[in-house]
């Protein structure tokens, strides 16, 4: 007799499974999760803390906050940050101080671990939320973070 009860139970479980997928089929219009990507760029916003790319924000006078302390370069595990610096005479105090020439960021090697941003004492580098970083030439992934002609904001190391 278990022959027939096997058949009956089997068919019952199969129909239960079909009811689950059938339910999704009927609600397919409202429930679909597809985001039609290139068409929805305006409404697609990442969260604030999303780790897209490391950038150095500049304010309206073209000043950045990087003092050249090299904390980020030391903190980076695989050498994605290189800082080219120089000692120059600070006009206000007359002493020699570090000044950065170029803050090079190899985005191709970066693992987005965030240690550089945590290490920076002046919040010179922050996370940006852009996710479209693909390029045709790998050399374009090596970015120089400080814009040409920018200077460090005065008095930032206090």
């Amino acid at each position: 007799m278990s022959y027939f009860s096997d058949i009956y139970n089997g068919i019952k479980t199969l129909l239960t499974g079909m009811s689950v997928t059938g339910g999704y089929f009927i609600r397919a219009r409202k429930g679909s999760l597809t985001q039609q990507y290139p068409d929805n760029r305006e409404t697609l916003k990442m969260f604030d803390r999303f780790r897209g790319e490391v950038v150095m924000p500049h304010d309206e006078h073209n000043e950045h906050y990087c003092t050249g302390c090299q904390s980020c370069e030391i903190a980076c595990p695989n050498g994605s940050i290189e800082i080219i610096w120089d000692r120059a005479v600070d006009p206000e105090t007359g002493k020699k101080k570090k000044k950065i020439d170029q803050h090079i960021y190899h985005m191709g090697m970066c693992t987005m671990c965030g240690l550089c941003i945590e290490a920076c004492p002046t919040d010179a580098i922050v996370w940006a939320q852009n996710y479209e970083n693909s390029v045709y030439d790998r050399a374009a992934l090596t970015k120089i973070l400080n814009q040409p002609g920018s200077v460090v904001k005065a008095g930032i190391e206090d």
Binding site: N9, T13, T16, V20, Y24, F47, R49, P77, T111, G114
Partner: protein, 373 residues
């Protein structure tokens, strides 16, 4: 003619098949050399190393804060738990006591990671057995966990949120509400998963009595995690060697005794319910406190060997650090759960069919970067 006489008269030969490193819908780059006679498997030999990236060697040149981000990429589905393991080892060596807030948040995030890993496992198990829609349902729910992580930690897969001494930054204000919404949503979905796959007669026939692992074999091969608990070996590190906030929550250790694929499946489904209950107990009363303990900028561990074990979604992960007083460790070794679990595959696969091997591997839940490191 009896069955044996027929077998003796017809001469068959065994042949070798590569379930190769490139395989559609398999678990990663694992090469299995199968010796098959017709449809019955005679021998399984795993061939590893296709994704070896020398993580342990790289740890020898990095400082202690920097080795955390490498462990993200070992078992990428429980990346938070791997990070936590290394941080706990370093804190144990420095004898640093983190605040309650850090412990509770670490536990909540670990359980969320475990849930996400088990959701992906469920989707992939259905897909390996042929029910192709389970993958999409699992990922829909997993997206909600990914959103929680993205809002708080900033990344969806390789979080790197724990540091030796605490957390990198505080949780987002929306964290608690989002987690509660997710738990309410997921509690309605798990019964649906059961209706779709667990009770299905085809699924039961494919998984019951297949790939039986006895308790003695589990203990002698060093198997851990849901695989061992499916065979009756009580090996949950969270219960027997509690860390972070696990000693103050109340949860059951799930044990089944049959040791076949179906019981391993049931262990993981029940673990999802237990994870949700742990999160519910902790989410409402996250104590206030410091997020980071101050450590020196350059951490140097005292000379000696330090070991800490945690329970990832796959089993017991052990972190061994041998330090000689410098700012880089002398040797770091990870006892990966997948490696020990894989060693038992040959033993339990003798005499089963190819389709059973696929079901067994799906129930073991291998992540090959964890095995190869």
């Amino acid at each position: 003619m009896t069955n044996q006489e027929v077998k003796n008269k017809i001469k068959t030969e065994e042949y070798f098949i590569n379930m190769g490193p490139q395989h559609p819908a398999a678990h990663g780059v694992l090469r299995l050399l199968l010796t098959i006679d017709g449809e019955i498997i005679k021998n399984v030999e795993p061939d590893l190393g296709y994704i070896h990236r020398s993580i342990e060697k790289m740890c020898e040149r990095d400082s202690y804060q920097q080795i955390v981000h490498l462990t993200d990429r070992m078992d990428y589905l429980s990346s938070n738990i791997n990070n936590e393991a290394v941080c706990l080892t370093v804190e144990k060596a420095l004898e640093l006591e983190v605040s309650d807030r850090v412990k509770v948040i670490r536990t909540i995030i670990s359980e969320l990671t475990r849930l996400a890993s088990h959701q992906l496992w469920w989707g992939v198990m259905g897909m390996d057995l042929g029910a192709l829609t389970t993958y999409f349902y699992a990922f829909r729910d997993r997206e909600m966990i990914n959103d929680i992580f993205e809002e708080t930690c900033g990344a969806r897969l390789t979080m790197n949120y724990n540091i030796p001494g605490g957390l990198m930054f505080d949780i987002h204000p929306n964290f608690v509400q989002r987690t509660k919404d997710f738990i309410t949503h997921f509690k309605t979905k798990l019964p649906e998963y059961d209706r779709l796959l667990t009770g299905n007669v085809i699924f039961e026939k494919r998984t019951k009595g297949v790939g039986i692992l006895t308790k003695e074999d589990a203990i002698s091969f060093g198997v851990s995690g849901p695989v061992a608990r499916g065979s009756g070996f009580a090996s949950d590190v969270r219960k027997h060697h509690p860390y972070s906030a696990y000693d103050r929550v109340d949860f059951k250790e799930i044990l089944f005794t049959e040791g076949d694929t179906y019981s391993r499946y049931q262990v993981r489904m029940a673990e999802m319910w237990e994870s949700m209950s742990i999160i519910e107990q902790l989410i409402d009363n996250i104590p206030e406190g410091a997020i980071q303990e101050t450590t020196k900028a350059v951490i140097k561990l005292p000379k000696g060997e330090f070991y800490q074990r945690v329970e990832t979604a796959r089993g017991e992960l052990g972190v061994y650090i041998n330090s000689d007083g410098n700012k880089n460790p002398y040797r770091v070794k990870f006892r990966s759960p997948g490696f020990s679990n894989l060693s038992v595959l040959n033993h339990i696969s003798k005499g089963v069919k190819i389709a059973d091997l696929v079901a067994t591997m799906a129930s073991f839940d291998f992540v090959i970067p964890d095995i190869d490191r």
